[in-house]
């Protein structure tokens, strides 16, 4: 994958924006759109309106089977969907707004967009690079001030056009919200199919919006609890290969996998350290489960817990110095923190019910977890010392939170009850208001959100 940022200097723009040979404005190509998400939450009516017409092209060319004008429409759609999903913005377009010319990209007709009540407008272009690739540029403007707020340009392989769109959306989101970017990131999860008593569960990966979906394993062995390595090259997960429960590291480019550790015991619940050098896992010996840490390259594992109860799971703090995990040593599942050498184990979850599946935010300020009580599972957050507990969802069974790279959004999976119950992937922001379902080709569970792509 290559996505090379380029500076959008005036000179470059002039060279990539030659005389307009087009005789008439290129009509927007109608691209079949699929439902992107289901809006469930109550939407705030304070969302900023952003107009996003299709990106323009200097001349319609076909690169690797993709027409530059069609891509201009599709990229605008991805940008609009990203911004809409953040819950902060109300995109207008590309459907229903007029197409822009290539010349307008740097000279917007601000009055037109103000007339559409848009506080901001996004313009951009998609051109053939002349070397088999594409050049994509995007600009964010303030319509009232008539000023440019941010610009981004990329030279990309044609197959990476979605990444360019996510990068543009990230630049817009960051400039307007002041938050770190997160759209240009990927999710590993488990695709589910088949009857509930004999479920087929496959490792699968996709972009943060569900795009570029790909199955990794074929479903012959039960697969659960995947986690992307921080460099996205590997996935650690649990496979029931040969009817054993073991943690494997799957190398995506090589298409091969290896055991994290050789053991006659069940190993499960794996997590990477933030720098990707260490793996945390749980191992059951004679019915007693404890947490271990091992180099991602193998070697001798270090046992971190030793209580008679179930100590399981675990997630590193972003500075790599602490681990949050769950234990039933108090009599029921609760959340604890410890140093990475296993010292200083302290319970942090109190209050009603059981607490499980803790995940440390990449910002370090919060821990997301699953609260079980009253027959329901809900997603909540609390501080690393257990304070300021807030529940973000309220459904029958919401489980296994995973953080967006910027620590503002949480994905999880939701199961519905009964014989026909389904599992699906959802996300919610820290307000608890912007709750969305993620599109997946089959049922989904165990999402794991990776960092912003390198």
């Amino acid at each position: 994958m290559s996505l090379r940022p380029i500076g959008l200097s005036l000179a470059l723009l002039l060279t990539t924006a030659p005389v307009f040979a087009q005789t008439a404005p290129v009509p927007p190509t109608v691209v079949p759109t699929e439902p992107r998400e289901t809006i469930e939450g109550t939407l705030s009516n304070e969302r900023t309106v952003i107009a996003i017409p299709s990106l323009a092209t200097s001349s319609v060319q076909t690169v690797a089977g993709l027409r530059t004008d069609s891509l201009g429409r599709q990229i605008a759609e991805v940008i609009a969907a990203d911004l809409e999903r953040s819950g902060l913005y109300e995109p207008v377009g590309p459907g229903g707004v007029r197409a822009i010319t290539r010349a307008e990209v740097q000279a917007p007709r601000f009055a037109d967009w103000q007339a559409r009540n848009a506080e901001n407008v996004v313009h951009g272009f998609v051109d053939a690079s002349g070397t088999g690739g594409l050049v994509v540029g995007c600009y964010l403007y303030d319509t009232a001030l008539g000023s440019e707020l941010v610009r981004k340009g990329f030279e990309i392989q044609p197959g990476d056009w979605r990444r360019a769109a996510h990068k543009c959306a990230d630049a817009i989101y960051s400039r307007l919200s002041g938050e770190a970017p997160f759209f240009d990131s990927r999710v590993a999860y488990i695709a589910e199919s088949g009857p509930k008593g004999n479920r087929i569960k496959r490792l699968a990966i996709m972009d943060s919006d569900g795009g570029n979906h790909r199955f990794i394993t074929n479903g012959q062995s039960l697969a659960i609890s995947p986690r992307f390595s921080p460099d996205y090259k590997k996935i650690v997960y649990v496979s029931y290969l040969n009817n054993r429960v073991r943690v494997f590291i799957y190398d995506i480019a090589a298409g091969s996998q290896k055991l994290v550790t050789e053991s006659g015991n069940a190993t499960f619940a794996p997590r990477w350290s933030p720098d990707g050098t260490q793996i945390l896992y749980s191992m059951a010996v004679g019915g007693n489960t404890d947490i271990y840490r091992i180099s991602a390259n193998g070697g001798t594992p270090v046992r971190l817990t030793s209580t008679p109860g179930i100590d399981v799971g675990g997630s590193f703090s972003p500075d790599g110095r602490k681990i949050v995990f769950e234990s039933d040593r108090s009599g029921s599942q609760q959340i604890y923190t410890m140093n990475i050498d296993g010292s200083n184990q302290q319970r942090i979850s109190f209050g009603g019910g059981r607490a499980a599946t803790p995940e440390w935010s990449p910002r370090g300020d919060l821990i997301a977890f699953t609260r079980m009580g009253g027959g329901e599972f809900r997603i909540g957050v609390m501080t690393p010392t257990g304070g300021s507990v807030r529940m973000l969802t309220n459904s029958w069974q919401d489980e296994a939170p995973t953080w967006s790279p910027n620590g503002r959004v949480i994905q999880f999976f939701r199961t519905t009850p009964g014989r026909e119950g389904k599992s699906s992937l959802w996300q919610v922001d820290l307000t608890g208001v912007n709750l969305r379902r993620l599109p997946t080709p089959q049922d989904g569970s165990d999402p794991s959100w990776g960092p912003v792509l390198p």
């Binding site: 019915g287 599942q333 599946t357």
Partner: protein, 172 residues
Amino acid sequence: MTIRKSTAMIAAITMLAVGACSKKAPETLPPVPEGTGTDTGAGTGTGVIPGSQEDFLASVGLEGDRIFFDFDQYNVDSADMATLQGQAQWLQRNPAVRVTLEGHADERGTRDYNIALGERRANAAKNYLASLGVDPSRISVISYGKERPAEIGSTEEAYAKNRRAVTVVIGR
């Protein structure tokens, strides 16, 4: 079938009872297997291969291949002991056979915890069989957590059937 008491068994009961306490709520339990598997198993003259899974199931009777647990518990109670004694008798008649004990949980736990809980349940059953004289090296253990429910549904009845440890013949 009669329930034989032994010192090993009593020791095992004491061991298993520690930490598990007596939180057993009234629950539908499988009937104690009866009327099957006296000496040679049900295989005789029925075409069932002695020592096979089919022979095992015929010997231990309806649901005699599994024991059931209370919510979030893993202690082996007296009904479970009777079931496992039936299994142990068959295993002693078929000393070359190896089995897997599958531990399972209902859907009201999180995924990783339920794998750990299934491990506890399968090991509790394994330890009890060992206390009855079954060589533990003949018994392997695997936990499926909540991945493989026996009864589909979100009712107490289904959950009770799913919190289980199942003995499966895997060969000689």
